[in-house]
């Protein structure tokens, strides 16, 4: 949603209404706008809610930003409802002293609005005046408040001009008010007039307002800059299943790339094969960054399992390798090796977990087939292949919060929900890692009491510290720079 600037009025007949609405549109949306206002033309409008003709719009082009600023009489279909609600709220709910001045209100769903209410004198209206408000609606509260000075100044300037003009018209018409109460009692018909009539500028008012609105939106847009500092994480995975992520260090097994991307395993497939202890063990080592070694006869199967495990980690934390020989832990955290390879004796047994997939009959169907080199044609075949394996997991583990949640996802959760759940978990822990990174910048990690307090604040246990350390390493560099600078600012202040 972009910034939207509206003029709203409290219509004597229809209550609070948006009467003039300016927003930025891309060039391709301009024709859609044209269609939209054809529909809007059908909406009822009395004289006091009228502005420009309902089937017309005013448009300006900003060459630098390559956008159009279009003003219409009523908001477009998609925005109609919530903008009317904003109008309702600005005119009938929010209170500002004397009903004349700026206020900010809003919520994350509706957006935040800076409204400037004002009254325009009208000799023929009830009470001698009509209530209007200029409302700027934007999605971001902080940004809106940051622009408070600029926007309120310009609103005040516009309002001041309108009031001065309306005063002239009011004085000219003032004679009719001298007629006394009997006259007033008999005058039942309400005279509905638009703002343009009240300020005596039938043709010039709305083009003027459009220019002013467009300028405010444009300058508001210029002050806004968005910086994306973290990679692809917030993008949800395709709903079907976790896709095969590209292994960043994939050196051998060039035939991997030929495999169809639609073939993949799900967590539940793995959980079906592995015993409870083993699964928890794999998750534990995976999420704290220890090496997970997958050893098996079928290279397809091995890489499928590696890919599956890789989806559980943030992309930056994954270094996956399929090799014919053992690779040290510092080279990769996901390693796939053929079944004949042995783990060297010097490797610390607690620093890795071995997922050993043993084909029950060496000469059996699945095994023979995989050795023959024909890749599995689809996911079902891959599953059959996996089901034929006897998986043996060697390693030890500790309870962690994230590990327990992954375990829940693999064993209990409905298959359809697993991808979303894992995605949400990843975002959650990514954010925890950010917090931990800032914490580590501000305090030394040697201070046990502070670390303890930090973990308690996040509802985590000691063993989760290992997870946080690893995930912090996966934060993208720009993010780390931003976090570091923000903590530096906090520390200095």
């Amino acid at each position: 949603m972009n910034a939207v600037l509206c003029l709203t009025t409290f219509c004597e007949k229809h209550g609070p209404r948006v009467v003039f609405c300016t927003q930025s549109v891309e060039s391709d949306e301009l024709s859609a706008l044209h269609l939209a206002i054809q529909d809007a033309a059908l909406a009822q409008a009395c004289a006091s809610c009228a502005s420009i003709p309902p089937d017309a719009f005013l448009v300006s082009y900003d060459e630098a930003a390559q956008v159009y600023y279009a003003s219409t009489a009523s908001p477009q279909q998609a925005d109609y409802k919530w903008l009317q609600e904003i109008a309702l709220r600005s005119l009938t709910h929010e209170q500002c002293p004397g009903m004349d001045g700026p206020i900010v209100f809003g919520d994350p769903v509706m957006g935040y609005a800076l409204a400037h209410m004002f009254k325009i004198s009208d000799a023929k209206a009830r009470g001698g005046c009509r209530l209007y408000s200029l409302v700027l609606v934007v999605p971001d509260e902080v940004h809106l408040v940051a622009c408070w000075d600029v926007v309120t100044q310009h609103f005040a300037a516009i309002v001041c001009g309108l009031k001065a003009k309306s005063k002239l018209v009011y004085n000219l018409e003032g004679a009719s008010r001298q007629l006394g109460p009997r006259f007033a009692r008999q005058r039942m018909a309400v005279v509905q007039r638009s703002l343009a009539e009240l300020v005596g500028g039938m043709d010039s008012l709305f083009p003027f307002l459009h220019a002013q609105h467009a300028w405010i939106i444009q300058s508001f847009g210029r002050r806004l800059f968005q910086r994306r500092i973290e990679g692809a994480l917030p993008v949800a995975p395709a709903p079907a299943s976790p896709s095969l992520s590209q292994a960043s260090l994939s050196s051998t097994s060039s035939s991997d790339t030929e495999r169809s991307a639609s073939i993949s395993l799900e967590l539940a497939d793995l959980a079906a094969l592995v015993d409870v202890e083993g699964l928890a063990c794999v998750f534990f080592h995976l999420i704290i960054g220890n090496q997970v070694v997958v050893r098996g006869g079928s290279p397809w199967l091995v890489s499928a399992v590696l890919d599956l495990l890789a989806t559980l980690l943030p992309p930056a934390c994954v270094s996956s390798l399929s090799s014919d020989t053992y690779a040290d832990t510092w080279r990769c955290n996901l390693l796939g090796i053929p079944s004949r390879v042995r783990i060297p004796k010097h490797v610390d047994a607690s620093a890795f977990v071995l997922v050993d997939m043993l084909a029950p009959g060496r000469t059996g169907g699945g095994g023979a087939r995989s050795r023959s080199g024909a890749p599995p044609a689809n996911t079902a075949e891959l599953r059959t292949l996996l089901a034929g394996q006897r998986v043996c997991i060697v390693g030890s583990y500790r309870e962690t919060t994230l590990g327990a949640k992954l375990f829940f996802a693999a064993t209990t959760l409905d298959r359809a929900l697993v991808a979303d759940y894992v995605h949400a978990l990843k975002i959650e822990w990514h954010n925890k890692a950010k917090a931990f990174f800032k914490f580590a910048k501000l305090h030394t990690l040697n201070d046990d009491a502070k670390v303890k307090a930090f973990l308690t604040a996040l509802h985590l246990s000691d063993s989760d510290l290992l997870v946080l350390r690893f995930w912090t390493a996966g934060l993208a560099r720009p993010l780390r720079a931003a976090a570091a600078s923000s903590t530096a600012a906090t520390a200095s202040s």
Binding site: F10, K13, G15, P16, L91, G127, G128, C129, A184
Partner: protein
């Protein structure tokens, strides 16, 4: 709310316990006493039907002619009738253009749940078909949330109509409204009262009196006290007035004659006006010219006597009696003193 009314109609509860129960228990403890727990009166209706005018004329002493220059109400205007009078309630004046009852964005539970009475104002001089439709949806919505609400319909601005036209309009409106309610098969549950009102005469005060009376739990007690008083003093008619808005919160059980009410109401005006000029005490913080000494007797040229006496700080007893019955006025004074003590006991814990 249910409990509240039941308790008082039984009449067996000692006076001292009445008020704490009234405002405390059913609203969740003493801590919440105050603004939120007061009975709420909603003024609803179509735009330009005269809601704000009613509120201003009855409670803010605005002259009826001045109401022509009122702006249209854009917000809910809440006014509390607590500081200036004994019976505390708040009046909410709702803008007619905003469909509070039909827009799901509004918190209808919050609006109707605490409401004691809903006054729907219909402009009798305007086309009222739309108003009747709005009344219908409003009543159904409010009843759904709070079945205890008293529904009052003011057929307003009847000053411009002849007596015949008034009757015709009233019949027409009552018929339509009741038919709508009957269509919804709620005619047994929902009671709606209708009043012909105008801000240019006393009818609006009388109608408001009736509405307020429904919200006063002590009403049966007060009525009984008045009945005892008039039978012992041979009074024709007695009212207990709230002097600030000039609405009567109780009268004896004989029927109310409009002219009598107007007389009594005018008498209060006279007494207060005279009081403001000559009777302002040094420590009169109300600025009302009305205190414990306020009393007045007026002999009318038709052989009647108007008798007024202060009862409590904001209440006055106004009675109409024949001149020959007023001969023993010492006795009447004594009886009124007894009545005053009894009323003081009724309201004791609030002061």
């Amino acid at each position: 709310m249910n409990d509240r009314y039941d308790e008082f109609s039984s009449g067996s509860v000692p006076y001292g316990q009445m008020f704490p129960d009234m405002y405390g228990e059913d609203a969740g403890g003493e801590a919440e006493q105050g603004y939120e727990n007061k009975p709420r009166i909603l003024l609803m209706g179509m735009r330009r039907s005269g809601k704000s005018s009613i509120q201003k004329v009855v409670f803010q002493k605005m002259s009826p002619n001045e109401t022509l220059f009122l702006e249209s109400t854009t917000k809910i205007v809440k006014s509390e009738i607590a500081s200036s009078s004994l019976i505390s309630y708040s009046i909410w004046d709702l803008p007619g253009q905003v469909g509070y009852e039909s827009n799901p964005a509004f918190d209808n539970e919050g609006l109707f749940a605490q409401t004691g009475a809903l006054i729907f104002v219909i402009d009798a001089q305007d086309n009222y078909r739309e108003a009747i439709a709005k009344l219908h949806t409003t009543v159904l919505r409010a009843y759904e949330i709070n079945p205890e609400i008293c529904f009052e319909v003011f057929i307003h601005k009847v000053d411009g109509l002849s007596d015949d036209a008034k009757t015709v309009r009233q019949q027409d409106i009552v018929e339509h409204v009741l038919a709508n309610i009957a269509d919804a098969e709620l005619e047994d549950q929902i009671q709606i009262s209708f009043y012909l009102t105008s801000i240019y005469d006393h009818s609006i005060f009388e109608a408001f009196s009736k509405v307020i009376q429904k919200l006063i739990p002590q009403l049966p007690t007060l009525e009984q006290l008045l009945d005892i008083l008039i039978s012992n003093c041979c009074i024709e008619k007695a009212f207990l007035f709230d002097v600030v808005p000039k609405i009567y919160i109780a009268d004896d059980s004989s029927p109310v004659d409009m002219q009598t009410y107007e007389l009594c109401s005018d008498m209060i005006d006279v007494v207060i006006d005279v009081g403001c000029i000559y009777g302002m005490g040094e420590n009169d913080d109300t600025g009302l010219g009305y205190d414990a000494e306020s009393a007045s007797v007026m002999h009318l040229n038709n052989g009647m006597v108007l008798y007024m006496k202060e009862v409590t700080r904001y209440l006055a007893l106004v009675a109409l009696l024949r001149e020959d019955k007023y001969e023993k006025h010492g006795l009447i004074d004594y009886n009124v003193e007894a009545f005053k003590n009894a009323v003081a006991k009724v309201f004791e814990p609030r002061q």
